[in-house]
Each structure stands twice: as C-alpha cells, then as structure tokens.
Amino acid sequence: MARFLIRRILQGILVMWLVTVGVYLIFYIGPGPGAVARTLAGKSATPQVVAEVSHRLLLDRPIYVQYGHFLWLLLHGDLGYSFYHQQSVNSIIGAAFPITLSLVIGSAILWIVLGVLSGVLSAVRARSILDRTFTLLALIFYSMPTFVLGLLLLLVFYYELTIHGIHAFPGSGFTSITANPWQWFRGLILPWITLALVSAATYTRLTRGSMLDVMGEDYIRTARAKGMPERRVIFRHALRAALTPVVTQYGIDVGVLLGGAIITEVVFGMPGLGFTAVQAIQQQDLPVVIGVVIVAAAAVVLANIVVDALYAVLDPRVRLH
C-alpha cells in the first residue's frame, strides 16, 4: 500500500509538472513576445513601466530562466499578485475556495444519494415502469446543459415566485455559513439542485449497469441460496462490488468541480473559483488565472490518488501494486 501510494504520488507530481509547463506555454509563450509584460503593466502603462515589469519578472531573460523562476515561486507557494485587485493570488483563492467547497460538497452528497438509489432501484426492477422512468429522467438530465437547468430553475423558483410575493430563494450571490447559516443554506439550494441533477444522471446509469452485471455473479446466487434476505443481498453484497466504477467517477467529478464549478457559479453569481477564473480571464488578470488553473489541476490529481486508494478498500479483489 505504501509503495503504491508513493508511486501514485510521484506520478501525480509528474502530471502537475506537465500542467505547469502547459500553463506556462499557454499564458507566457502563447500571447507572443512582450505581451505578458504589457498585460501585467496595464493598459495605460508607459513603455518604461512595461520594461520595468518585464525586467522585474525576468521576462527579458532566456525562456528556461523565466520558467525556472516561475516554478521556483510556485514551489514556495507564491502565486504572485493580482493586477486588478491589488491582492495576493493566494488570498483571492483563499476567499473563493470556501464558496466552491460549499457548493460542491452539498451537491455531491445530493447527487450520489440520488444517483445510486435510483440506479439500484432501476437494476433491481429492471425493465419495470420505474426503471424506464429513471432511465428517461437520467437521459433528460444528462442531455441538459448545466446553464439551461440553472436558468430555468431561476426563472421558475426565483423570478416567478418573487413576482408572486414569495421570496423563497435569493437570485444570486453567496452568504458565508459563519455569517448567517440560514441564508447560506437558502442561497445554495438552487445551485445544489442544479449541479446535483445534471451530475446524478451519470450515476444512475453507471450504478444500474454495474448492479446488473454484479447481480448475475455466482456469489449473489450463493447468498440467495443461503436464504439471505434480498435487501441484504442487494445492499451488503451486490452494491459493494457494484460501487467500484461509481467511486472512480465520483472522485474524478468531485475533483474537477473543486477546481471551480464554472457554469453553476456563473449562473448563480457565486464568486467561487470558477467564477473568479472566468472574470480573471476576461480581465486578462494572468496571475489569478494561472493560480486557479494550478489549484484546479491539483484537485484533480489528488482526487485520482484518493480514488485509487479507495479501490482497495471497497473491492477486496483489487490488489495494489
């Protein structure tokens, strides 16, 4: 186990290093020579200021020195300063992350429960009306772009309710849980539902397919032959094995979203990592964009390692090496 973890962590570091190279190529080399210093110096900067910025960030040195400097700062946890907000990127990300975390954790709980339950019910009653209904619903929500569902929910539950005098949900924004737990919860209900419904569909299908496979296995027949109650067969024996592919998907999805649930955050005006990144991209606030991309990639890499480790815990047949 320890050896496996070390190997996976080393691989993760390799991937992260590749991400920094990719980020560097896209953001520093991509825009062409001199463009970065001009962007960082701001639109009204004089050529002297641009030259000074360029010199201070070593942008006038050979590429390997530049990249080395970039990596060096990164390794020290220094993501630089936002040009627009006169704030360190670390503190910007620190402020945005809890918002994304609130959104993702809540909806992740919701969608795994929805997805796995509907998937198990579908598999146990395969080809029944219930199964067909769940399959159709899953297809509809799977096909539904996140922003379409979010905006339609806002239209019905925010706009329509509000003009009829019912102020059930805020239209946008985020309240911190420490400031007002009730407002925090109220503001998150629609974003949670949006993200959960579009994500749950995949889990319904995945659980159903994997449960159907497992239910045909010999050990399930053995368990039934022993006279074990069906409920116990399904939840104790079948579900445990069927969950392996579900856990893989779950880890990756949660990891990707922790780097910013871009669309949901934009639709509901929640200043999380995704919203911050989109804004920074539009303002060409380079250090913030790079910071979010690196945090997001780290979340994915970390999630992958956790998933692989969980494999062994869930499925005794998997041996790590």
Binding site: L14, G22, F27, P145, F147, L151, I263, I281
Partner: protein, 322 residues
Amino acid sequence: MSQSLASVEPPPTEPPAGGGEGAPVRKIEGRSPWRLGLERLVRDRAAMISLGVIVIIVLVAILAPVIAAITGHGPNQTFQSIGLTAIGQPKGPNATFLLGTDDQGRDIMVRIAYGARISLIVGVLATALTVAVGAIVGLIAGYFGGVTDSILARFMDWLLAIPFLLFAISLVTIIGAGLTVVIIVIGFFGWASVGRIVRGQVLSIKEREFVEAARALGSGPWRIMFIDILPNVIAPIIVYSTLLIPLSIVTEASLSFLGVGIPAPTADWGQMISASQSVYQYGAWWYLVFPSAALLITTLAFNIFGDGVRDAFDPRGDQLFV
C-alpha cells in the same frame, strides 16, 4: 473479420427472393455483424424516433434561409418598432413573431433556425476531429507499444486530468473566439478519451493471426495499422462518436454562454441563452425558454440515438466484433 466490412454499403433490405413464398426450403443467409446491428437499430423505436428528430433539426438548419424568407425576418435584422414594446422590451410570441423577439427586436424563431447550423456544424466537425486524432494516436500508441506508448499514454492521462473548460476558455481568449477556434479547442481537449479506447482495442487485436499473416506477407507497420487493424476498431469508434456529438454541442453552447464561443451577432443558442439573462427577469421568458428547448431537444435526440447505436452494435458494452 475485416472482410465483412463490404456489406456496410447496402442498406438493410429484406432477404432476396430466394426464400420467398412457396419455396420449400428457406435459404439460410449469412448476416454480417454490421447487418445484425443495423437490423437491431431499426427495430429500436426510441432510436428511430430520435433519428427522425435529428433529421428535422438538420432540415431546419439547411432550410434556415427559407424560414427567414417566409417570415420576411433576417437572422440579424432588428425590428425596433414592431419587434419591441413601447418601453423597448422584447415582445412575446405573437402572429408576426411566432416565438417572440429578443432584446434587440430580432425574430427568435429565425435565429433558432440559424443557431441550429452552428450547433450541428460544431457537433459534427469537432467530433470528427476528436475521433480522427484519437484514432490515429490510439493506433500508434497501441501498435508500437514501448516508449512511444508510455509517452502517449501519459500525455492522454494528462489531457484527461486537466480542467478542460478552464483551459478551453483561456485558450479561446488568447487565440480569439470564432467557429474554427471552438472546433479545434474541443477537438484538442477531447481526443484523449477516444485515444484510450482505440489503444485498448489495438493492444488485443495486434496479437491476432491476421496481423501476423499481414506481417509475414511483408506489410509495413502503417499498412497493418490502417488497412488491417483500423477496420476492426471502427465499430467502437462509431458508437463513441454518436455519443460525442451531443457532448461537443453542449461544450460549444457552454463556451458561447460564457462569451468565449461564437462571437455576436451570429445566431447561436448558447449566446442567445446567455443574452436572455438580462431580460427574462423582466418577464421575457420566451427568450430563455425557446433556445433552451432547441438545445435540449437536440442533445436529447443525439443521446437517445447514440444509446440505441450502442445497444445495437455493442450489446455487451465491451469489445465488439473482436
């Protein structure tokens, strides 16, 4: 089994007259896996209905200028006087504008028809690019193995690990938005999943006798890869492609929704939905609802059809024809 590919061409027809009425012995006819798959697909009612919907959407896209001519409203034509209310708000569905107007007094129905073109073009071309690159890289990685495979496989892992939408937005912002850029960006970030599937298939196929025979006959690696192996992985590629089309359409719409996709004033569904945010809170629900419905119906039809294709050609859900 690559020989059986010859029978892809003819459409599924009834067995020839040899087994007709009165004939004492029914001729037993060999049917290729392709033929069996097509027959299964045609029997799938949901898939056939969604195929019908797809055909209608394609027709709407092709006939968009006709729709514009019938209504007399161009896709970018603004009707300041008849298309907007007295206070400059969009007008709801009425006899002149069947699906209402947008915030600039343009006909939403005509714009939805033109928007279908963008969605379908991106859906098909981005998927084609994704599949072509994925298949070539997957073939190379799987066939050559060794160091080539390790490097390519790591690269695919990397592509699958990075936050796609974030990178896509950044790239489009730097290169500049536009139809071609959107297609290339979707293709660039999407091919790794196809590459992984093809690589896995090639790994098992390249050990088979007919590949060995081809090598013994003196075929070079490229000929073996594209003439002998490729036809055998075409089926999973087709199955995956049909499911990639709706994904590409949603990605394009999402990029346009975020303002980094197809630039205005070109009619585009994602962009229309994004623009509707500024007015639906004043009651213009039609501006949000109709383009959303168009987008949802399109992705749903492609997903149901893709599901049908997978069930028909890949009933076990794993290796196919191999």
